[in-house]
Structure formats: C-alpha cells, structure tokens
C-alpha cells in the first residue's frame, strides 16, 4: 500500500518534471527539473531493489553530469531560445504524433510481455552489493576495464575540444595588437572575431 503510494508520487513527479525539461524555454530551469526527474527515478530504483544503482544515479547524474550541464549553460550564457521562424508548428505536431506512436508501441509491447506481473518479494541476496560486485568483477571484468578506457578517451577528447589552442591565442593577440592603435576600439572586436578562422587553419 505504502509502496504504491510512493511509486505514484514519484512517478507523477518524474513525468511532470520531465515535461518541464522538454517544454521550458530557459535551459537553466530545464536542467534543474532534470535533477528532480533523476532523483525521483533514483527513488524508484530503490523501490525496485537496486540501491547501488540509485546511489550511482545520484552521484554520477545529479552530482556530475547535471553540474556539467549547468556549468556549460552558465558559461555560454544561453538565454531563452527565440520563437521559431522555421515553421515549427508542423514539426511539433509530427514529433508529438511520433512520440505517441512510440509510446503505444513500447507500452503495448511491455504490457503484452508481462501484463500485471508482480515480481517475487525481495530477498537479501538480490539487494546485496556483494553478489552484484562479484558478478561485475568476474563475468564483466573486461567490459569494466574497457569502460575505464572509454572514460579516459572522453576526458582527453573533452579537454582537447574545449581548450583554447595556444597557437590560435597567439594569432588573436597579434591581431589585436596590430589593429589596436590603428583602428581604435570599435573594429577590434571584428578583427578578433576574424582571427578565429586562421586558428582553424592551424589546427
């Protein structure tokens, strides 16, 4: 009884905040309501007997990924997106219909497979971290190591992509110095904007 109440409460919370994520025009609000969705899903993970996954969800998603999103949103200073000029109505209607069709397909498939099936009561062996860890570090050890490698590659890629290239920085400063005294403060911004292009050529 109380389990059903908790499920309904957090399911409604998850769906409502997911709608806010998708519908709100300000990305900061979208990101913060994604936090609500993720935390409610973490509660549902606990209900499903996966406390380790719930802890990971809170730590990795809300602790790392969402903070990264917020950081980028604020770094780029993205405001509300302007109202569309590209005939967005047809796109919205088609996307809504497509999403409803997808919902019908996935929903009916999962309902058809296990229509009101109730899982057997939780036992200690299923919830315990020890059995999960022994499975993870025996059958899936190679995958685990490969995921570590993937994260390393991602760190390097993110650093390379987001770092301002040194040679480009030098070009930009030279242009600024060269254009500064001659042209005055007005066109300097234009020349530094153009200096982005030769930097691309360097890379």
């Amino acid at each position: 009884m109380i389990e059903t109440a908790i499920f309904l409460l957090f399911a409604l919370l998850a769906v409502g905040s997911a709608l806010v994520v998708v519908l709100h025009r300000n990305p900061v609000y979208s990101t913060m309501s994604l936090v609500v969705t993720l935390v409610s899903l973490a509660v549902l993970f606990v209900l499903l007997g996966a406390p380790f996954i719930a802890a990971l969800q809170i730590l990795i998603y809300t602790g790392a990924i969402v903070v990264l999103f917020l950081f980028v949103v604020m770094l780029l200073n993205i405001g509300r997106e302007e109202i569309g000029q590209h005939g967005g109505m047809l796109q919205k209607v088609l996307a809504g219909v497509g999403a409803l069709v997808l919902l019908g397909m996935v929903g009916s498939a999962s309902w058809g497979l296990y229509g009101g099936a109730v899982a057997k009561p939780l036992d200690e062996d299923f919830v315990s971290l020890t059995t999960l860890a022994s499975e993870l570090f025996s059958s899936y050890l190679l995958t685990f190591e490969l995921v570590g490698l993937l994260l390393l590659v991602a760190v390097i890629a993110a650093t390379v992509l987001a770092a301002r290239p040194r040679s480009g920085e030098r070009v930009e400063q030279e242009v600024e110095v060269a254009a500064g005294p001659a042209a005055g403060p007005g066109p300097v911004t234009a020349t530094t904007g153009d200096a982005v292009l030769p930097r691309e050529g360097v890379r």
Partner: protein, 100 residues
C-alpha cells in the same frame, strides 16, 4: 506490491517525452537534456526487468550506461563550447554548414 509493468509503462512515457523534446527543441543543450532523459528511462526499464527476472545483469548494464552517459555528456558539452566559440550560438537551426 506495484506490478513491474507499471514501471515499464512509466519508462515508455518518459522515453516518449524525451523523444518529442529531442525532435522539437532547437537549443542544443535542451536536446542534450532530452537525450539524457531517454537514457534514464531505458535505465528504469533495465532495472525493472532485472527485478522481475531476479537477475543482476540489468543492473550491471545500467552501470555501464551511466559511465557511457558521463563520457557522452563531457564530449558533447565540449563540442558545444567549441561550436559556440566559432558561431556565437548553439541554435541548431543556425548550424547549417553541412545542409544540402
């Protein structure tokens, strides 16, 4: 006891919401958030099946999905920063360099 199929239906609903968001929004960050939403609804499906079948494999797959999602978010956001540096926008309608 809550039937496991309720969780599956909730996950399908969240996935549909994420799909609609990824298809309609034009702000790159919001599309990325919609994709994260879809990833998470799939995680819910995996954990629900893991619970129903009494098998840990679903939870282990969720573990890997979380790691891949973290890598994807880091690289994707770095791409957005790099694009913003050149185009001063991350509105996807304005990124039409490769449009035919």
């Amino acid at each position: 006891m809550v039937p496991v199929s309720w969780y599956l239906l909730l996950a399908a609903l969240l996935f549909a919401i994420g799909t609609a968001g990824a298809l309609t929004r034009r702000n790159g960050i919001t599309i990325f958030l919609s994709i994260e939403l879809m990833l998470n609804s799939v995680n819910l499906t995996l954990v629900a099946y893991s619970r129903l079948l009494g098998d840990h494999t679903g939870q282990i797959v969720v573990f890997f999905v979380l790691a891949v999602a973290a890598a994807e978010a880091a690289v994707g956001l770095a791409l957005f920063i790099a694009i913003y540096r050149h185009r001063r926008t991350i509105d996807l309608n304005r990124m039409n360099l490769l449009r035919w």
